[in-house]
């Protein structure tokens, strides 16, 4: 390690590190130092580290390759988090960095012998080996996973990071802060629209940022980038650095992921962006050159070597060979030579450079330039010790002694955002790239993604895209558009790419995908086996399915497939891109996800009383109180004294107006026209198949004025259901959702009437306020006015009291105080469910499904059949199914004593004979009745009282059964004397 560690270059204008500020961190057990601005990978490279990880399958040593996080080579454990991309993670003081997927040491991994067993692992071996006998597959699977795992997280690991979420709205969103992206953002912002610019690096500049090539006379590329960045800072552009787009759609939605810095209160942020127009200026990646041992540490891409030197001040090697396929490679060779690196030779797989000045530059520096040559093999076990170059037809070869091979077959546009937006890519024979063919409206590609590379053209293309995007947002830019179009047309045509993918040898160790250890040989095997499209080969070999996604195989995969199929490349396509476009930590997606609970006005009072909550209806309702899950106290109060329940979660509507009754008759199956003032009616809403959707109690408040009360949590649905079925009629009515405005308190029990009578001067006796009656009551001498409905939901005298929600809490307190002498006790959903079950009430959520009609549930009596001209939803279906035989029936049952297993049967148990004949909807132990009771939906022949049901639960032995006897409903107070009392 120390041998390779050397002094950094600290006087370059292109540097992005601060050489005056050291950053200390630990790599394994060693304390090392980097500089402020370093990424973890560059700091390690600067300290002489060359092997960063071991490969997943063959355990080959892997090193720094792209600096962009395109592959898994530099995935490391950073501060306890596995699979962090060391290339893009900014170095922080005190960081703890560890390599992963390695035993003992990076240099000497005992599983390194796997590399020699590649013959035993052909393409798709994991799909064909170890599966017979199948019982052994789990055994092998476990071992394969253990051998191939990439990173482990400690079971007790607790992230200290802060995750955050942000919603942004803008007119134009520009993805990519290179020359084209910056030009696009500036052009759009100058036209007066709002602009958001996303850049994945901590600075703007993109491909220009480190390059010393010429932009125009006496202006280098990096200086031009700095000029544009300064303009961006002064423009009204929202700039988001260290932000990558992970997903987008053609309709203007972009999901981005941002890393925070010391200035932020968060560490990682998910950003949902809504824009009206999108500019994709994501540039290019380099297409890996395929040759034997192209994954050796010391082999890296042009951009990686160039940036290591110019951005981070690290010479990537002492003596290097370049094997490239684009002009930037020649520029990089000259630049690295100028910085002091020995460049042995530059092989160019093209026959000539696009810019002849570059070959002249190499000649001036006495660097051998070999057009038509390419790297064929790297020598060395754990690093580069030499390179074999082949001429174009393989007829000649040369060997060069070196410790660095800078290799690239050319450029591949990063078309992922366009593909996600709905674009298609086509092979372009001039550039040798897959370029966007059709682009959806609202999306504008700019820069190198369109195949152009000439620096002036990149800016012109960006300006044009920015103006087009602004125009879509309503900006008036006609003249500027014309000028930009003309400027782009004057720029040179896109440069020629490498004519054909250079390939030599059998490809046994020529890696197409580093992450999954897929070689050229594997791709050939895949094609030979008939998996001969990029999509099939991807699945058969695993190429492009690793953490780097398609970053490394990218466009090489379809080009290889085309080559092995002996077809032109335009017959194949790159594989489908799916979000996220880059690996994103899963916690980011749950970042700061706030879900609000609906709480009743008496929430704090219930909390004080020891309520345990049930959120199943969307409201935070009391399930039971004070560690009494069986709710016996509450049930006892309701059955013998008086219970009080928070019923604020009920849906509550006022429907009024001359045609209000038509609305009710449309949705309620019970015939509401007969409902007189001061009366209430229990009814159901069905869908058009006659299946039960909702139940409701409707009270007539006055002439054409009704109060409709539905089950907790169903208010919104019922409101929409009513509106949906009334909107097309020319009815004069109003509907007001009073769910939030009205508080509701339920008093139930034999003493409920006495309690109520004690606080009102109105007569609430049985004749004056009968079952299903509605009254307006004045309580406590007019201190509180309530609307009261007398129901029989739980089989006892029950009053539902409705008052303004803002007065519900004091009303609750006053009722509780007034009920003290009667032994009042609060009860919650658990007690309510059991009380209703004892009374045989239908439980809409548990007992209805898409098969159960009103008569099936034994509720045919609620169906008002004699209405004339009615168009009640579900009426027709009910008519057809009422007398239909063979339908499921709802029955009540009592459990037969179990011989030796005293546990309670659970909801959802199935009723079986030879086949499944039904299921248990709801079952509970009733302390009042002293036995377990329940309801079930069963086949018609099992519905007769006295029938024994055979019940089976998923955790029973296959031959085991529980037994229950069908009984008549209700279980409790069959003559209704108590609730009518």
């Amino acid at each position: 390690m120390k041998r390779r560690s050397r002094k950094r270059l600290t006087d370059l204008e292109t540097l992005r590190i601060d050489p005056s500020r050291r950053v200390r961190f630990r790599f394994g057990l060693r304390a090392v130092k980097g500089f402020l601005g370093d990424s973890v990978a560059t700091a390690l490279y600067g300290n002489g580290v060359r092997i960063f990880s071991r490969s997943i399958k063959f355990r080959r040593p892997r090193g720094l390759y792209s600096l962009n996080g395109d592959c898994a080579n530099c995935l490391m454990e950073i501060d306890g988090r596995p699979n962090e991309t060391a290339e893009t993670t900014l170095l922080g003081e005190g960081m703890r960095v560890r390599p992963q997927n390695v035993r003992f040491s990076l240099k000497r991994d005992p599983f390194g012998f796997m590399d020699r067993l590649d013959w035993a692992m052909p393409a798709g071996f994991h799909l064909r080996r170890f599966h017979k006998p199948f019982s052994l597959w789990p055994f092998f699977l476990k071992r394969i996973r253990r051998a191939a795992g990439i990173g482990r997280i400690a079971p007790d690991y607790r992230s200290e990071e802060l995750f955050d979420r942000q919603f942004l709205q803008t007119d134009v969103c520009v993805i990519g802060g290179g020359a084209a992206g910056m030009s696009a953002a500036l052009a759009a912002a100058k036209s007066g629209v709002r602009v958001v610019l996303l850049e994945s690096r901590p600075w703007l500049g993109g491909n220009f940022d480190h390059r010393t090539g010429e932009f125009e006379s006496e202006v280098t590329l990096y200086k031009e980038a700095r000029n544009l960045a300064a303009e961006i800072e002064n423009a009204s552009i929202r700039l988001l650095l260290r932000t990558v787009a992970v997903d987008l759609s053609g309709d203007g939605r972009v999901t981005a992921y941002r890393m925070g810095g010391e200035e932020n209160l968060w560490d990682r942020r998910l950003i949902n962006i809504r824009c009206r127009s999108l500019v994709a200026a994501t540039g290019c990646t380099e297409r890996p050159l395929l040759f034997e041992h192209n994954d050796r540490p010391g082999v890296m891409q042009v951009d990686c070597a160039y940036r290591l030197a110019r951005t981070y001040g690290i010479l990537p090697g002492t003596a290097g060979v370049f094997s490239v396929g684009h002009d930037e490679g020649l520029e990089a060779a000259a630049s690295l030579h100028d910085l002091g690196m020995m460049v042995r030779a530059v092989a160019d797989c093209r026959t000539e450079p696009d810019n002849p000045k570059l070959s002249a530059m190499l000649s001036e520096r006495n660097i051998p330039y070999l057009p038509g040559w390419h790297a064929a093999e790297v020598k060395g076990k754990k690093g580069v010790e030499g390179v074999v170059l082949f001429s174009e037809n393989g007829g000649r070869q040369q060997f060069f002694d070196c410790d660095l091979l800078v290799a690239s077959a050319g450029l591949s546009p990063v078309g992922d955002p366009l593909l996600l937006a709905g674009s298609e890519l086509d092979y372009d024979s001039r550039t040798g790239c897959y370029l966007p063919r059709s682009v959806p409206p609202g999306v504008h590609p700019a820069g190198r993604i369109t195949g152009i590379t000439y620096p002036g053209a990149l800016e012109a293309s960006g300006r044009l895209a920015g103006l087009r995007a602004a125009e879509e947002c309503g900006a008036s830019v006609d003249e500027a558009l014309r000028e930009s179009e003309a400027a782009l047309q004057e720029c040179p045509a896109p440069t020629r790419g490498c004519p054909e993918l250079p390939l030599s040898g059998k490809g046994r160790k020529s890696f197409v995908c580093f992450d999954m250890d897929v070689t050229v040989k594997h791709i050939r095997q895949s094609v030979d086996r008939g998996f001969d499209t990029a999509e099939l080969a991807k699945r058969f070999t695993g190429a492009g399915t690793g953490p780097g996604q398609g970053g490394i195989p990218g466009h090489n995969l379809p080009l290889l497939i085309a080559r092995f199929r002996e077809e032109a490349p335009d017959h194949t396509r790159p594989t489908t891109v799916r979000p996220p476009m880059i690996s994103t930590p899963i916690p980011v997606y749950g970042a700061d996800r706030i879900r609000l609970s609906r709480v009743s006005p008496v929430h704090s009072l219930l909390k004080e009383a020891g309520a345990v909550w049930d959120d199943s209806t969307g409201w935070r309702q009391a399930a039971y109180f004070a560690f009494d899950p069986a709710a016996r106290e509450g049930i006892d109060a309701v059955r013998h004294r008086v219970g009080i329940m928070d019923a604020a979660a009920q849906g509550k509507f006022r429907i009024f107006g001359p045609d209000a009754v038509h609305v009710l008759d449309r949705v309620l199956i019970g015939g509401m026209s007969a409902l007189s003032m001061g009366r209430a009616k229990h009814s159901f809403m069905c869908n058009r198949f006659g299946c039960i959707l909702y139940e409701a109690v409707t009270a007539c408040r006055g002439k054409d004025d009704y109060l409709v009360i539905t089950k907790p949590g169903k208010g919104r649905e019922v409101y929409q259901w009513i509106c949906l079925h009334a909107e097309k009629e020319d009815w004069n009515f109003q509907i007001a959702d009073l769910t939030e405005s009205l508080g509701a308190i339920r008093l139930s029990g034999p003493s409920a009437r006495d309690l109520l009578q004690g606080i009102t001067q109105s007569n609430v006796s049985n004749p004056a306020f009968p079952l299903m009656g509605f009254r307006r009551l004045s309580l406590w001498d007019g201190a509180l006015a309530v609307q009261a409905v007398r129901t029989g939901a739980v089989g006892e005298i029950t009053f539902d009291l409705f008052m303004p929600a803002s007065l519900m809490a004091p009303a609750w307190e006053a009722l509780t105080a007034a009920g003290g002498p009667f032994g009042i006790h609060p009860y919650g959903l658990a007690a309510d469910t059991l009380l209703r079950l004892e009374k045989g009430r239908f439980h809409t959520e548990r007992e209805s499904d898409n098969r159960v009609t009103l008569p099936d549930a034994g509720l045919g009596r609620y169906w008002h059949r004699s209405r004339s001209g009615s168009e009640t939803i579900g009426d027709v279906a009910l008519s057809r199914t009422a007398e239909q035989s063979g339908r499921m029936k709802r029955v009540g049952f009592q459990m037969e004593p179990a011989p030796n297993d005293g546990r309670l049967l659970k909801d959802g148990a199935v009723v079986v004979e030879d086949t499944i004949q039904g299921h248990v909807c709801l079952t509970r132990y009733s302390a009042t009745l002293g036995e377990q009771i329940g309801t079930a939906l069963v086949a018609e022949h099992l519905a007769e009282p006295g029938t024994i049901l055979n019940l089976f639960e998923h955790d029973m032995d296959p031959d085991e059964r529980r037994y229950a006897r069908v009984v008549s409903l209700p279980f409790y107070d069959p003559d209704d004397s108590r609730m009518k009392g």
Binding site: L168, L596, I759, Q761
Partner: protein, 217 residues
């Protein structure tokens, strides 16, 4: 008959702060000022302010207190201490934001929703940044002078009605109404996400002061 203590209306929102000044108004105990309100931004509970819903087939014909409702859906007008919001073709809301108590018109289409909705005001310089963490709505786009835009959309995934009354680089004022049942957790979550900007609860006076400064009162 048993006696009961006088019934005070309760706002759905209770801030965990010490009130410095309280006024009883329309049965509500209205906090005018809290101790240690800080320098902003502020979160003000206005749930006690009267709010009415108006529904009618021709809602534009209705003129609450002789004021015209906005003609276009999703717009609002601030006039005489009332905020008139046009929700849909058939629905409008009237929020009485300033001034003395006023009776709800007894005519047919008015429904009192004062107790049913929680109403919050967010005011201060950093309100746009705070809202970016809560709502995927384009609240801060340049506004036409009159009528102003209003929004119906999710805040913390809950349907809300929002109106931007002021937006400038130095100050913003946003009103947000949601169902009463969401009010407390809505306020708590705003205070949570606004902690980095020192968002703190403030009394009603902070809200009226804002408009006095604007010359709207």
């Amino acid at each position: 008959m048993t006696e009961a203590a006088p019934f005070h209306q309760q706002s759905p929102i209770v801030f965990n702060e010490t009130p410095a000044e309280i006024e009883v108004r329309d049965g509500f105990q209205v906090v005018l000022r809290y101790e240690h309100e800080g320098g902003g931004p502020f979160l003000v509970d206005l749930s006690h302010r009267p709010k009415w819903s108006i529904q009618d087939r021709q809602v534009s014909r209705i003129r609450p207190y002789r004021m015209d409702l906005p003609r276009v859906s999703n717009t609002c007008i601030l006039q005489n201490g009332f905020l008139l919001l046009r929700l849909t073709e058939f629905r409008a809301h009237v929020w009485h934001l300033f001034g003395q108590s006023i009776e709800i018109p007894s005519e047919f289409p008015y429904i009192d929703i004062t107790g049913g909705d929680a109403l919050l005001a967010l005011t201060g310089r950093d309100i746009p940044a705070i809202l970016e963490k809560a709502a995927p709505l384009d609240l801060w786009q340049p506004q036409p002078p009159l009528p102003r835009r209003m929004f119906q959309g999710p805040v913390f995934d809950v349907d809300c009605i929002l109106a931007v009354l002021e937006h400038s680089p130095v100050n913003s004022m946003l009103l947000l109404a949601c169902g009463r049942s969401y009010g407390q957790s809505m306020a708590e979550n705003f205070l949570g996400i606004g902690e980095g900007w020192r968002l703190r609860p403030a009394g009603e006076r902070m809200f009226t002061k804002f408009f006095q400064n604007q010359g709207a009162l």
